[in-house]
């Protein structure tokens, strides 16, 4: 199953490192990353593959949320289907 992770917040050292280490620990493979920083605001989108993940999808959603609160950014994981449904016929 594919998911989209979005990270939004004030830029600081180590955001990508923290998120990526978490994903690696959980067996989540990163398929694509795009990222920008505008006026000090960090905005990242990742496409990830959760087929080898050791946790259930909603557990990963919760864990990423709490990781976000820990490092002071907003991290969300959503299933890719919602974006495909809305933007592709």
């Amino acid at each position: 199953m594919k998911g989209i992770i979005t990270v939004l917040g004030k830029d600081r050292v180590g955001i990508i490192a923290k998120v990526c280490s978490y994903l690696a620990e959980d067996g989540i493979n990163i398929l694509d990353i795009s990222q920008t920083i505008v006026s000090g605001w960090f905005n990242m989108m990742m496409v990830v593959d959760l087929s080898t993940c050791c946790h259930r999808f909603e557990e990963v959603v919760d864990q990423l949320n709490s990781l976000g609160s820990e490092i002071g950014v907003d991290i969300r994981l959503q299933r890719e289907d919602i974006f495909n449904s809305m933007h592709r016929i």
């Binding site: 694509d32 496409v47 959503q78 299933r79 289907d81 919602i82 933007h87």
Partner: protein
Amino acid sequence: MISRVEVQETNKMIREANLDVRTITLGINLLDCIDTDINRLKDKIYDKITKNAANLVKTGDEIGKEFGVPIVNKRISVTPISLIGSSCSTSSYVEIAKTLDKAAKEVGVNFIGGYSALVQKGSTKADKELINSIPEALSETERICSSINVGSSRSGINMDSVKRIGEIIKEMAFLTRDNSSMACAKFVVFCNAVEDNPFMAGAFHGVGEKDLVINVGVSGPGVVKRALESVRGADFETLCETVKKTAFKITRVGQLVAQEASKRMGIPFGIIDLSLAPTPAVGDSIAEIFNEMGLEQAGAPGTTAALAILNDNVKKGGVMASSYVGGLSGAFIPVSEDHGMIDAVNAGALTLEKLEAMTCVCSVGLDMIAIPGDTSAETISGIIADEMAIGMINNKTTAVRIIPVIGAKVGDTVEFGGLLGYAPVMPVNSFSCEAFIKRGGRIPAPIHSFKN
């Protein structure tokens, strides 16, 4: 692959414009529960609901979390109870209402609809008993919603029932007088009621439906308003195209959620109801869409045209996004559940008469309107008769959910709480229709040709 812009667009809709799936409603057929013994009937109803809806709330919450879109309500609709109770030797249907309420609480849904009767052409003994029991049933339960269909384009309007419903609305207002006459907010009277409506208070599981079915109601007035902000001042073609595109996107989310819920629960998908349903939150309002279209307030000249544009283009955009569209599909225009409508009433821009005109082109009808508690039962019946006539003649669903708030007068504000919001008490035309309502009988079916 999905681009960042697309991801941001979707997430902005959810975070900033209140995009949500308003309800997943599980329709449950209760015809196989019919029994002559009231206790066996109650047990069968309770067992069927709690068995089939056990995972409804959990499934809805899980899907909401995985897609990152709120699924606000999880609800149940059942076969009209007047049919289920008709062979049962009981003098009161209230016991069945209490069983439904208990089952709703057990599975954790916030409303269960179907305490209903279909009396468009005439009432059976069971229909009459159910109608008479509605005030007690709604005041003694928490989660029951009730609806009565009193008219249709095929069969006319049952004016005996319209008269009786004016009286029971007064009764239920009185019985819940300490709680803003709240029972009336859980009761709706229809013309041309639909059998697959997922929205309360009018949801029931029609007899032409499968045993179990998942119906989903989408929402998103805030998303439409945001989209229209980007085409401010553009012509009507652009306006309509923008509403269509937005409705398409909103509906696709509903379709996805419905299919996923259907798959996980092993219950067939029924329909998507393409309704724009407002909430009292700022940014989730139909009236704000009117403002964005160029009207100073909802109710200003042009409002009916604006609503017609909105309603028609929501359908045009939504129909292609879903494999099955049904329910009420359109724009709801409740007063208490829409802060922009409330503001318009308070500013003197929106009257009951203008709302009635608007119901000719919108999804349903006069919805969540508070009127003075001393309004007579006949006047309420007169308001219902007018609204039913609009539905009957125009081949559309119309409805009335009106609350004569005991002890309240014009200008007071009544608090209903939660999604039901708050409402200013609106003035009602004070001239009498008593002799008209007292005639009794039935209005014959209208002619279906010579349309002018």
